[in-house]
Amino acid sequence: MKQLICALLLAYAFCPGVASAQGNADLAGTWTLDRAATPTGRGSGGINGIPLAGTMVIKLSPAEVTVDADTGSSQSMQTFVYKLDGSTNPVPGSLGWETKAKAAWQGDTLVVMTQRSMQGPTGPMGVETKDVYSVAGDVLTIERSLGRISQKLVYRKGASR
C-alpha cells in the first residue's frame, strides 16, 4: 500500500498536465503595461471603458489570485481578489455598476470572467468580458474579449522605470 501511495505521489508530481492545473507560478510578480505594444484609446479597435492597469502586482495562493492594480481614480491602487473555488465574487468597478468576477486556471493560463451589470432605464443591462492571462518569459499577455471584439494587453515583468 505504501508503495502504491508513493507511486501515485510521484506520478502527480511529475505529470505536467496535473501540475499545471494548479496554476502558473510565473504569473506572480510586478507587471508594467507595455504601452507601445498595447493599442489603447479611441479608434484603437480595443475595448474602451474598462480601466486599464499601468502596473499590476499579482500574488498567487492555492485559494485565490490577488491583483493590486492602479485602476482607481488618479491611478490609485485597487485590489482584485479572484477566488479559485468556482464562486463569483464582487471586485472593484466603476460607479453605478455592480462588478463581479469568477476565475479559474486552465492549464498554465488564468481565465477571469468579469460581469458588469447596471440598472438601465429599460431594465437590467450587462456586459461580460473574458481575460485570459498567459506568461511567456518576462511578458504577460492578457487576451481580453467582449463578444466578437478582442484586445491584447501586453505587460513586462518588473516595476516601471
Binding site: G72, R116, G120, P121, G147
Partner: protein, 354 residues
C-alpha cells in the same frame, strides 16, 4: 444496441426533423418572404401622412462609412444573425463608454446617465450609413475642395490660440446655436427626438437638440435668392408618390456640412414611410465643387410616442463655455509665469459630433 434503443433513436430523429422544419421556416435566417407593400396613411387633405414623434436613438454608434473589417461587402450582405452580433457589439461598447462619461478613466465620477440615448442601440438597423457609392465610402474630394479647406484651416490656425480666445472661436454646436443640416438629424448622445407635423402646403420638422424647426413649403415656389442664407438652409419640398422630397440650398459657410461649399451644396432628403412605425430618411449630398460625385446615406426614424421632444436648455446651463474660456486664460497665465511650457488646444464639438 438493443432494438428498443434503436427504435427510440429513430423516433427521436424523426420527431426532431418534423419539429425542426416548421421552426426553421419561422426564423429570420430562413428564405426571405416578399413583404407586403405598405400603404402609408393619408392626411385629410390627401398627402401621405408622416406626422408623429420619432427618434433615431437606436442608430447611435453606427459607423457613418463602411468599416474596413467589412471591405468588399455591401449593406445588404449583412443581415440577420451577423447584423445581430454587430448590434450587440455596438450595445456593449455603448454601455462601457458610459463609464467614461464623467471624464474619469476609472469611471468614478459623474451622475446618473439615463439622459443618454445609448441603452437601446441593439435595436439599430444597419451596419453603416453610406448607401451610395455601394462601397459605403464617401467619394474623394475634388482638388478644388482640398485647396479651399487647406486655406481655411491655415487661416483658422493663424487666428486662434487654442480655439479659446473668444466664444466666437467655439463651434456653433458648443455655442448652442445649431448643428446645421443634416447634422441636426444625426444621432447623438442625447436629444435624438424629432417631430414631424403637416398642414396643407407645408411640412414642419422640429428637432429636440438645439430646438430648431424647419418649415418646408410644398407649393413649388423657387428657392430664396443667393443672398439669403441660413444654418439650416432654404428648403423646398414636393411629393414623389409616397415620398416627401426636400431639396435644401443656401447654406452658410460657418455651418456647412463636412467642409462643403455653401455656394454649390444641395442636399436632397427623401422621407418615405415604410411601415406603421418607421420612416426611411435618405439624404443625397450633391456638391460638385467638393466631392467627385454625389453620395447618399440613409437611416430610419422610428415612431415612438414615449420619445416626444423635450425642453432643450443649452444656453441656460452652458457653464462649459465660461469654463473653457476661463481655463484658457488660466493656462496663458501659467505660461507667463513659467509654470507651463505652452497652452493646450481645446477641442471644439463638430456638427453632429461626427
Amino acid at each position: 444496441m438493443t432494438a428498443r434503443v434503436s427504435t427510440a433513436i429513430a423516433l427521436s430523429v424523426t420527431l426532431a426533423s418534423a419539429i425542426a422544419v416548421p421552426l426553421r421556416a419561422q426564423t429570420p435566417s430562413g428564405p426571405a418572404q416578399r413583404p407586403k407593400a405598405y400603404t402609408a396613411p393619408r392626411t385629410p387633405w390627401g398627402d401621405p401622412d408622416l406626422q408623429g414623434n420619432y427618434t433615431n436613438k437606436y442608430e447611435q454608434g453606427t459607423p457613418f462609412e463602411r468599416p474596413d473589417e467589412f471591405a468588399g461587402r455591401k449593406i445588404e450582405d449583412l443581415k440577420t444573425d451577423e447584423l445581430k452580433e454587430i448590434l450587440q457589439e455596438r450595445q456593449d461598447r455603448a454601455l462601457l463608454s458610459i463609464t467614461l462619461a464623467g471624464g474619469d478613466p476609472a469611471g468614478n465620477l459623474g451622475g446618473p446617465l439615463w439622459w443618454q440615448d445609448q441603452f437601446e442601440v441593439h435595436k439599430g438597423s444597419r451596419p453603416w450609413f453610406v448607401t451610395d457609392p455601394s462601397d459605403g465610402k464617401i467619394p474623394p474630394m475634388t482638388p478644388q475642395a482640398l485647396q479651399r479647406i487647406a486655406v481655411r484651416t491655415a487661416a483658422a490656425r493663424a487666428n486662434r490660440n487654442g480655439g479659446a480666445d473668444s466664444y466666437t472661436d467655439r463651434s456653433l454646436y458648443d455655442r448652442c446655436i445649431t448643428r446645421g443640416l443634416p447634422g441636426s438629424m444625426m444621432p447623438a448622445i442625447y436629444g435624438d427626438s424629432y417631430d414631424i407635423v403637416q398642414s396643407p402646403g407645408y411640412v414642419a420638422i422640429r428637432y429636440e437638440m438645439v430646438h430648431e424647426t424647419r418649415v418646408i413649403p410644398l407649393d413649388g415656389r423657387p428657392h430664396a435668392g443667393g443672398a439669403l442664407r441660413s444654418h439650416m438652409g432654404d428648403a423646398r419640398g414636393h411629393w414623389e408618390g409616397n415620398t416627401l422630397v426636400v431639396e435644401t440650398t443656401n447654406f452658410r459657410s460657418e455651418s456647412i456640412y463636412r467642409n462643403g461649399n455653401p455656394d454649390t451644396m444641395k442636399l436632397v432628403e427623401r422621407f418615405t414611410r415604410i411601415s406603421p412605425e418607421k420612416v426611411e430618411w435618405k439624404v443625397t449630398v450633391d456638391d460638385p465643387s467638393t466631392w467627385t460625385r454625389p453620395w447618399t446615406f440613409a437611416m430610419p426614424l422610428t415612431m415612438n410616442d414615449s420619445e416626444r421632444i423635450m425642453e432643450y436648455a443649452c444656453h441656460e446651463g452652458n457653464r462649459a463655455m465660461e469654463n473653457i474660456l476661463s481655463g484658457a486664460r488660466s493656462d496663458e497665465e501659467a505660461v507667463r509665469k513659467g509654470l507651463k511650457a505652452s497652452t493646450s488646444a481645446v477641442p471644439t464639438a463638430a456638427e453632429g459630433e461626427r
